[in-house]
């Protein structure tokens, strides 16, 4: 399969949108383009699995190498393993739902959809490439449309939020580029030419002092996007100001770029540093998990609640990755996907509700379940998924992370695990509190009695997301084992080799 299709289709869609004349055409093109993308992802999953079934044991498959800057040995290298396949799937699902959630985006519709699809293209590009240079380029490509999208179509203090988000992420990028260049210039230690290619880099054994120097750059740099405490503060403001589809894509997928980078570059290439400096970052991740959950309890704005909840859930991803064993990493990567879909669902629903009530403050609403049964019920489902109810994907991910981290038998890891696990109670508190205040009880504002329930495109958008968290929740084996688990093997081998 030609992986570049995943970037080409969004770009083609963008080109077509340039010629569209009305919102109807624009959204139709976007919907068709992203449906094709969704189908393509499904095909990729099938092809990938059948390839593995036939005994292909390469770490990356569908590899294609295109020369870029010859003198520097920068290539555009594509390739995927089960983990990137899973994340490509996640991205397709979220962008698909995102397009339908923006069905009524009337002002500057062409520009909006173009920016949105460029963003998506950047994310897809990031996941299909396996050389750090191209990854970095796509990473930047994904971050920049964000500024425009929030700045123009956002709500509230959008300029401030857009600026803050972009600057903080750019700060992260600055650290990342130092880290990447450091890796590049040290990649010649064992002889070969300097390289950006992950496959080649993984064979290099970087000296420990180099690792110790570079690891914080990469971990913190990607960690900013992965909502690493205390560098998460762009997230509440950014999410609150962003338009619906952008929040969905950002919290759902873009934040995963951060944790994916931590996993694929920082931990994978610098395992000894990860082991030695792990405890420090584990403490930060644990703080993030508990702190984000407590922070969410007293919030009044639906989007802020979800933003803090994301800090907590993304903390669990970093927490799981740092445990550096198969179970926990498996869980962490599943958590990326699970949180991605779940939080996209939340933001979609919040956007739909906001579009009707024109407020996101929970105290100004009440009893909405009665008025909008579909949206209300969907929000309850999202809430239950978020608090880790069995039957939804979040439960599986959390369990894998906790059981994985519990394999470390020392007191330090035990205490952190128990603290992290305590978030399941705090999450229940803030989720049920919110549901109780704004969905249940008597209808507070009588104007709300006139509101209508979800339209077909809204049902499609939310329904798709619910479908996937349920499928994963009921039958996680395919994802945790066939896609993620097996692809973790070579990575773990490398990590464990130097210990």
């Amino acid at each position: 399969m030609n992986l570049s299709l995943f970037v080409i289709i969004p770009l083609l869609t963008v080109l077509l949108i340039l010629f569209s004349k009305s919102i109807r055409q624009t959204r139709l093109i976007a919907a068709i383009g992203m449906s094709v993308q969704l189908v393509l992802s499904a095909i990729l999953v099938v092809l990938y699995v059948s390839l593995r079934k036939h005994g292909n044991a390469d770490q990356f498959v569908f590899v294609k190498d295109i020369e870029w800057f010859k003198s520097l040995n920068f290539n555009f290298t594509m390739g995927v393993d089960g983990i990137s396949v899973a994340l490509i799937g996640l991205t397709s699902i979220v962008i698909f739902a995102g397009v339908f959630a923006s069905w009524k985006m009337e002002d500057l519709h062409r520009e909006f959809f173009i920016s949105l699809l460029v963003l998506a293209g950047g994310v897809f590009g990031f996941f299909i490439t396996i050389d750090m240079f191209s990854m970095f380029v796509f990473y930047e490509l994904a971050v920049i449309p964000m500024y425009i999208l929030i700045g123009i179509w956002g709500t509230g203090k959008k300029e401030y939020s857009a600026m803050k988000l972009t600057l903080m992420l750019m700060g992260g990028s600055a650290l990342i580029i130092v880290g990447i260049l450091g890796l590049y210039f040290h990649s010649g230690v064992s002889g070969g030419p300097l390289t950006m290619n992950l496959m080649n880099l993984s064979k290099v054994h970087f000296p420990v002092e180099v690792q110790m120097f570079l690891f914080p750059f990469l971990f913190i740099g990607f960690g900013v996007l992965g909502a690493l405490f205390p560098l998460h503060t762009w997230s509440p403001d950014g999410h609150a100001s962003a338009p619906t589809a952008v929040s969905m894509l950002h919290a759902g997928v873009l934040m995963k770029l951060g944790s994916y980078g931590v996993f694929r570059i920082a931990i994978y290439l610098l395992p000894e540093a990860a082991r030695q400096m792990g405890p420090f970052f584990m403490v930060l991740a644990t703080i993030g998990i508990v702190y984000g959950a407590f922070g969410a309890i007293m919030q009044k704005d639906l989007k802020y609640i979800n933003a803090y909840s994301s800090v907590s859930h993304c903390g669990l991803i970093l927490f799981g990755l740092l445990m550096m064993n198969k179970t926990a990493m498996d869980g962490a990567i599943l958590q990326m996907i699970s949180h991605g879909i779940m939080t996209a669902l939340f933001f979609a629903l919040i956007g739909m509700i906001y579009g009707r009530t024109h407020t996101r403050l929970i105290n100004e609403m009440g009893g909405l379940l009665k008025v909008m049964p579909f949206l209300g019920a969907a929000y309850v489902i999202a809430g239950l998924a978020s608090l880790g109810l069995p039957g939804f994907s979040g439960f599986v991910a959390e369990m894998l992370v906790f059981f994985g981290s519990f394999q470390h038998a020392d007191l330090f890891h035990r205490i952190l695990t128990i603290l992290a696990a305590s978030s399941i109670v705090i999450t229940a508190v803030y989720i049920l509190r919110v549901i109780g205040i704004f969905l249940l009880g008597p209808v507070k504002n009588e104007h709300h009695l006139l509101l209508t329930d979800a339209t077909w495109w809204e049902r499609l958008s939310a329904g798709t997301l619910i479908l996937f968290i349920t499928i994963i929740g009921f039958y996680p084996y395919f994802l945790t084992n066939d896609l993620i688990g097996n692809s973790l093997e070579p990575i773990l081998q490398k990590i464990l080799m130097f210990n």
């Binding site: 407590f294 309890i297 179970t327 894998l400 519990f406 399941i424 229940a428 109780g436 084996y477």
Partner: protein, 640 residues
């Protein structure tokens, strides 16, 4: 002999849930009600078939009932040595629970067709009932501790959804939230317990966990933490999970509030099935408790005994019909815990285990009946308060008689089912621990008193003035009452020890007449006091109350445990932790980020004057710096 079909027992209600859920608005109420009932009826038939096949066709193999995996598949792999399976485990207690759950659930389904008639949420109600039945049946059939945890959470959420069924009522919303969060809090300990247990035993599986030979290995090889072995730690933590679900002190606070749910829900979930899940969990792991950790078992015994007394005292003072029953449920589950706590493993020592399971069985029947009767009464008189009721025996004959039967059963009146099961628990306590024995004997008396207080107050006493003349409820509601009333008497005569015992060997239980006569005397005393005080209107109760004012007030306010919890959540967690964190995040963490941005722009603001573009300024700077530097140079040169 194959038990593969047992997977259908939970699956049928699941399918029913999905169908009612998806066709929510397209299905007529009648169809949804019948559909739900037929589904649970199929599960009921399959359960009876399973019981018949298991106990009579398979029977004992080498003297014990075998543990059979009916169905099993790998659901999630944690590591090469640890993976979670889903499936069905057929053994005496799971078969017993199947029968209990499907029987009560079927009765409740039929009853609800009448009870919920005309309710806007009729379909939703039946969908949730099906969801609950699925979860509960999955729970009792679980093959391993991870599977039980999954269904544990699912029954929790079904309970949440059903307590909050009248979601437009703020009290119902608050009650459902409280129930979920309190049990979730307990589940956290349960989860940690599972983490510990599975880490040291490398398995989730009940069959290998409870194998006596494995327990010995675990004991010798395990390490200790803070003076207790890890086994004890794990078992205590798991018990906390069970205590949360089974409303043991001090995690009982959610159950009385859970009465906000419709009465059939209280009967099914909060009396007969879900709340005994904690007892079931301990019973499931009983060999580990009995052989692995005496301390844990003692804790269970004392917690159970204290809870049964505590709840019974509160039950004497409550005025809300359903809350009296709720506290009575807490108290009775305390009995079951006591049964397990005073039991040993094997032979005669295992009497407590058998008695506990027996009491679980009989209690499910009579307590479900009590709640359904309460539902009928409340349905008719439109109030929950017993002081607004009275004299109903003339208007509701069937409800009256069935309620009386259930009351006699729970009071331990000789010949009724509760007598047999409770008596065996007390006998087991007598042989094991005298403090617990006397406590339970006392509680038996209190139980008889508060139940007959309820009975006389509602069905005798002075007739209250009702808005509408009370009448008997319709047939769909009375038929389940009659069936359950029959069962409340009949199940007492099952030779229970032949089916269920701690080590699966037959256990002949004889009534210990010494203990039995003590408990009969105590019960009669309770009944007579209630008769004197409440059969006819009198001011005697008030006079007694005023003579023990302080004690009464404390008991009436449930010893202020709710207030303590409220203080902890509102004042401490919300105001002292969450609010400061939210503030800290906005002002300190984010403030630091803004501070960096602000510093940057301040620096650039202050140095931007240097690049003014005015030639004179540049010239001035050039000339002055040349002079200063030259002076500096000369100075240095002169001093060298």
């Amino acid at each position: 002999m194959s038990f593969q079909f047992t997977i259908l027992i939970p699956l049928i209600p699941l399918i029913s849930f999905l169908i009612i859920g998806f066709l929510y608005s397209k299905m007529s109420n009648k169809l949804a009600g019948i559909w739900g009932s037929v589904s649970i009826f199929s599960s009921f038939l399959l359960s009876l078939f399973t019981a018949y096949r298991y106990f009579f066709e398979v029977g004992r193999v080498n003297g014990v009932y075998p543990k059979i995996l009916g169905f099993d598949f790998e659901w999630l792999r944690f590591s090469d040595s640890l993976s979670a399976h889903l499936g069905t485990l057929i053994d005496p207690i799971s078969v017993m629970m199947l029968v209990v759950v499907t029987t009560v659930s079927l009765m409740v389904h039929i009853y609800s067709i009448g009870y919920m008639k005309g309710d806007r949420g009729f379909n939703r109600f039946f969908a949730f009932l099906s969801l609950f039945s699925f979860s509960m049946l999955g729970l009792v059939l679980s093959t391993n501790i991870f599977e039980i945890y999954i269904f544990w959470e699912l029954v929790g959420v079904s309970s949440y959804l059903l307590i909050g069924f009248y979601y437009e009522k703020n009290s119902a919303v608050a009650a459902s939230k409280k129930a979920f969060i309190v049990t979730r809090f307990a589940d956290l300990f349960f989860l940690i317990g599972i983490l510990i247990l599975s880490f040291y035993t490398k398995t989730f599986d009940f069959i290998s966990l409870t194998d006596p030979s494995n327990i010995a290995v675990m004991q010798t090889g395990s390490i200790t933490f803070m003076g207790l072995s890890v086994t004890t730690w794990a078992l205590l933590l798991i018990f906390i999970g069970g205590a949360g679900k089974s409303a043991m002190f001090p995690l009982h606070i959610w159950l009385p509030d859970a009465m906000e749910g419709p009465s059939p829900v209280s009967a099914l979930i909060h009396a007969a099935t879900m709340v005994v899940a904690g007892v079931f969990l301990v019973a499931r792991l009983f060999p580990i408790y009995a052989l692995g950790s005496d301390q844990a078992l003692q804790v269970i015994g004392y917690v159970g005994a204290f809870t049964s007394l505590f709840a019974a005292v509160i039950a004497m003072t409550q005025m809300d019909f359903k809350r009296v029953l709720a506290f009575s449920t807490i108290s009775q589950i305390g009995y079951m815990m006591v049964g397990l706590g005073v039991s040993g493993y094997g032979n005669e020592a295992g009497l407590g285990y058998m008695a506990s399971m027996f009491h679980l069985f009989t209690h499910a029947m009579f307590k479900a009946l009590l709640f359904l009767c309460a539902g009928s009464v409340i349905h008719v008189v439109h109030t929950n308060f017993i002081n607004e009721m009275g004299g109903l025996r003339k208007h509701m004959k069937i409800t009256h008689i069935t309620f009386l039967i259930a009351t006699l059963a729970i009071a331990g009146f000789p010949g009724f089912s509760g007598f047999f099961s409770k008596d065996e628990i007390i006998t087991a306590a007598y042989h094991n621990n005298k403090i617990i024995f006397y406590t339970e004997l006392l509680v038996a008396g209190i139980t008889a008193f508060y139940m007959f207080r309820l009975y006389f107050r509602v069905f005798w006493n002075q007739e209250a003035s009702y808005e509408h003349k009370p009448h008997e409820v319709e047939k769909t509601m009375t038929i389940p009452l009659i069936i359950l009333a029959f069962l409340s008497i009949a199940v007492g005569y099952i030779p229970f020890g032949n089916f269920i015992s701690s080590d699966s060997m037959p256990l002949e239980s004889h009534i210990n007449w010494g203990v039995a006569s003590a408990s009969i005397i105590v019960s009669f005393t309770g009944i007579i006091i209630a008769w004197v005080l409440y059969k006819k209107p009198s001011n005697l109760p008030e006079r007694i109350v005023s003579s023990i004012k302080v004690l009464y007030t404390w008991a009436y306010h449930k010893f202020y445990i709710d207030e303590v919890y409220l203080f902890v959540t509102k004042k401490i967690i919300f105001n002292l932790i969450s609010r400061p964190i939210a503030w800290f995040d906005r002002h300190v963490v984010d403030g630091a980020m803004n501070g960096i941005a602000w510093t940057t722009s301040w620096v650039s603001e202050s140095i931007k004057g240097l690049q003014s573009g005015q030639l004179q300024k540049y010239a001035l700077a050039f000339v002055s710096s040349t002079i200063i530097l030259s002076a500096l140079l000369i100075y240095i040169l002169l001093n060298v």
